[in-house]
């Protein structure tokens, strides 16, 4: 009795503590309660490793192109950690040069940017800078007067492509489309042009052709902005100015046909043909780019802009952690909630499950596969596993080696499944790599022993119970509001802790027991009356 009271009091205290911190955060510090539904700021994080080359007297350098402000986005903050490197800005602050005299065999660098979408004119805006986007030495005025036959051939090919494209198109954008069509039809010409003009890629080549035609154009480089990208690619495209009476905008043209005609949210990192980074006296550089949509908008912007003069509590804000840690924590913090739910369903409702927190783990697996394919995949894996186990049973194997045999078969089955789905061009969206196979194996083993000992009915109810709870937890895991709330107000877990204690002292009946003891209760009541 006393213990129950203590648990209840602890729960109330922790609940109050959580409530007051949350109240303070919301009302005094203006933390946002709900995520912004339209994300318009993103974190971009670079994690790089540099391998040292041969020892040399010269300093080793790493030059990085910094994200630039443009008509669609402003760069709110830049943070970088590069221990022992000298830093220097170059090229009007557009590039960062890191220099180190005697680098270690492996150096790591880290940079993080917060970019903020501007409300006006997403993606395309008039040219405002003074760069000459028409400059090329292949326009008629700039051509050499007495060219060699080879150069003459180049001029002819240029003219041929341009005239042809011009005759078929009416707008700058359709001009680019035609150019690409012509070049992909006649790959010989394309190769010749690339070679002669020393163009880096198709985009660079098309920029020149557009300029010769008289369209202002430039090559652009950037990334796709999405909620969560762990390994972003640098995209390249052509931008061409479309300037008529009604509007004056830069239009985007992707040379990659897969990206054409899609409305994508893309951030232009830099323009021109220079690479993202260059190294000198390093053997190799590996760079990983992470992107994460920031649903806390203004709040994190405030957090990032003035990191020094802030109240201490900001220090404990999870949003200041490195991105990859944030991504992991976002999920981890939801585990206790899932576990609490399992406790509730087991203790109060009386749902039977296989293994205590197996449902939480299954739910995490579903996060990778989606719930539909998750259940399908999980179900078939377990079915296969059970068949294998039933057959292995005849061989009379010891328990632990039998487990590893089932594990092996399960993994082989997953491999086969992946190969098959690739062959049939099934885009299942399966990322099975993270699928906790070991858990499936244990699941199979538990179901099978349960099947043997308590019959198929028991085993099936428990499996279905586990799946049901896993589904519920899955929907908690993917809910953006819950995710945001717990991540922004992790102190809510104090309450979860308190509730676990109270639940641990629950001595009432389970819902399922009302059914189990119904006849008994009736019989007792009859006796009491009689």
């Amino acid at each position: 009795m006393v213990r129950s009271w203590i648990s209840l009091i602890i729960c109330i205290l922790f609940g109050l503590l959580a409530a007051s911190i949350i109240y303070y955060k919301i009302n005094v510090l203006n933390y946002p309660v709900t995520p912004e539904t339209t994300v318009n700021s993103w974190y971009i994080e670079l994690q790089g490793t540099l391998e040292r080359g041969h020892k040399s007297k010269d300093a080793s350098t790493f030059r990085l192109t910094l994200p630039e402000e443009n008509e669609g986005y402003s760069v709110v903050s830049i943070q970088k950690i590069a221990n022992g490197f000298g830093e220097d800005k170059q090229n009007k602050g557009r590039e960062l040069l890191l220099t180190k005299r005697n680098p270690d065999s492996r150096e790591s660098i880290y940079a993080r940017f917060l970019i903020y979408g501007l409300d006006a004119n997403q993606g395309a805006a008039p040219a405002t800078d003074k760069t000459d986007y028409l400059k090329t030495r292949y326009t008629v005025e700039n051509r050499i007067s007495n060219p060699s036959p080879e150069t003459q051939a180049l001029y002819d090919t240029i003219d041929f492509v341009i005239d042809r494209a011009d005759s078929r198109s009416s707008t700058p954008l359709s001009f680019l489309k035609e150019v690409q069509a012509i070049l992909s039809e006649d790959t010989q010409k394309a190769a010749f042009l690339m070679d002669q003009m020393k163009a880096k890629d198709l985009a660079a080549l098309m920029v020149i052709l557009a300029r010769v035609e008289g369209y202002e154009s430039r090559a652009a480089n950037g990334i796709l902005l999405a909620d969560e990208v762990r390994n972003a690619d640098i995209l390249r495209w052509v931008e061409i100015r479309s300037n008529d009476d009604s509007d004056d905008v830069w239009r985007r043209f992707f040379t990659d046909p897969e990206l054409q005609g899609k409305s994508l949210q893309i951030y232009r990192w830099w323009t021109g043909n220079s690479p993202l980074y260059e190294i000198k006296n390093f053997k190799e550089a590996r760079l990983n780019i992470l992107v994460k949509g920031n649903q806390d908008g203004a709040f994190t912007r405030a957090l990032w802009q003035a990191e020094e003069k802030q109240p201490l509590i900001y220090k404990f804000t999870l949003q200041t952690l490195p991105l990859d840690q944030q991504l992991v924590l976002q999920v981890l913090l939801l585990f206790p909630i899932g576990a609490l739910l399992v406790s509730f369903l087991r203790q109060v409702v009386g749902v039977k499950t296989i293994g205590t927190f197996m449902p939480v783990l299954i739910a995490v697996a579903f996060r990778e596969t989606g719930v539909f394919y998750g259940i399908l995949f999980f179900g078939s894996l377990i079915a296969v596993g059970m068949v294998v186990r039933a057959n292995l049973d005849r061989l009379r194997l010891l328990m632990v080696p039998r487990l590893s045999a089932i594990l092996t078969v399960t993994i082989l089955f997953i491999a086969a499944f992946m190969v098959l789905s690739k062959d049939m061009h099934l885009q299942l969206g399966l990322s099975v790599a993270l699928f906790p196979v070991v858990i499936i194996t244990m699941f199979i083993e538990r179901v099978s022993t349960m099947w043997d000992e308590s019959g198929g009915k028991e085993a099936m109810t428990a499996s279905c119970g586990s799946m049901l709870i896993a589904c519920i937890i899955y929907f908690i895991l993917i809910n953006p509001f819950i995710k945001h709330f717990v991540f922004t107000f992790p102190e809510i877990l104090f309450l979860v802790f308190g509730l676990s204690l109270v639940l641990g002292r629950y001595n009432g009946y389970k819902l399922s027991e009302y059914k189990r003891f119904w006849a008994l209760k009736r019989a007792i009541e009859k006796q009491q009356k009689g």
């Binding site: 629950y506 009432g508 389970k510 009302y514 189990r516 003891f517 209760k521």
Partner: protein, 283 residues
């Protein structure tokens, strides 16, 4: 809600919190969880137990199983730390092909060896820990239950709380339970009147029945012999075990009278259904 509390019914949460956790200290659990320990305690109190034939502890000993049981025709093999009747073999005869179980089914020697190995690796033990195997004399049960015991040994389960026997139940093996009397294996549970030791109402798989499903003989109105002795044995065991709340399993041997089979630190709550009475109203 729904008058469950008024009826004095104890649910599983209440059993765990207010009976098991409140009265049983963890350090005394082994006294109940290990059948060998329980045997020792019972013997030290001068109570009867089925004779211990052997204790197999290591995998290599499994090979010697045939030699070990060579002198005995009938015997029982069980996991030392098992529960709920899981993994128990009640062998009533040795035959050419292997061992004949109480249900009449025959287990080949090979199958038996596999079973023993699984037992040792903890398949039937609490929490899956490594286990040892107990081989003991098969109880020759009193013919008094002949009419209502089917292929196996009936036992009497008594629930004891701090010196007082709260409730009792006669458990009878059925066709489904393979010689074991545990309820969840399909055994029949019969309530017992505490004062007289006469059986009252009966259940199988949570349903009320009047006659034994296999022998069709009435289950109610039967006198349990040695009833007072049994109550006495149960309270003694509870005190000696250090645990405040236990279930004591007693079997009635034809020659030696009541014997302690095992004790249980988390006795099941279906006993309430068999007795048509809530445990709470007996506290």
């Amino acid at each position: 809600m729904f008058g469950f509390k008024e009826a004095g019914i104890v649910g599983i949460n209440k059993r765990n919190l207010d009976f098991v956790l409140a009265h049983n200290r963890r350090k005394f659990y082994p006294n109940a969880d290990s059948k060998l320990k329980t045997k020792e305690i019972a013997l030290s109190l001068g109570l009867n137990v089925p004779d211990l034939f052997a204790n197999i502890r290591y995998q290599y000993e499994v090979k010697q199983f045939e030699d070990i049981v060579q002198p005995y025709d009938k015997f029982v093999v069980k996991p030392d730390r098992g529960s709920g009747g899981d993994g128990i073999l009640v062998i009533i005869e040795k035959v050419m092909a292997g061992y004949k179980k109480a249900s009449g089914n025959i287990m080949s020697r090979q199958e038996t060896r596999y079973h023993l190995q699984n037992m040792l690796s903890g398949m039937y033990s609490l929490g899956g820990h490594d286990d040892t195997i107990v081989i003991e004399r098969m109880v020759e049960f009193d013919p008094i239950f002949d009419e209502i015991a089917y292929q196996g040994v009936p036992d009497i389960r008594l629930i004891v709380l701090e010196g007082k026997v709260l409730m009792g139940m006669l458990r009878l093996p059925s066709k489904a339970s393979d010689g074991k009397a545990n309820l969840h294996t399909g055994g029949v549970g019969v309530g017992i009147d505490m004062d007289t030791g006469i059986t009252t109402t009966a259940i199988q798989r949570n349903r009320y029945i009047d006659v034994h499903p296999e022998t069709n003989k009435p289950l109610t109105g039967r006198q349990i012999p040695y009833w007072k002795d049994m109550l006495d044995m149960a309270t003694k065991m509870q005190k000696a075990s250090g645990l405040g709340y236990i279930g004591v399993d007693i079997v009635l041997d034809k020659n030696k009278g009541p014997m302690i089979l095992e004790i249980n630190a988390r006795p099941g709550i279906s006993i309430q259904i068999a007795n048509q009475c809530g445990l709470l109203s007996r506290v």
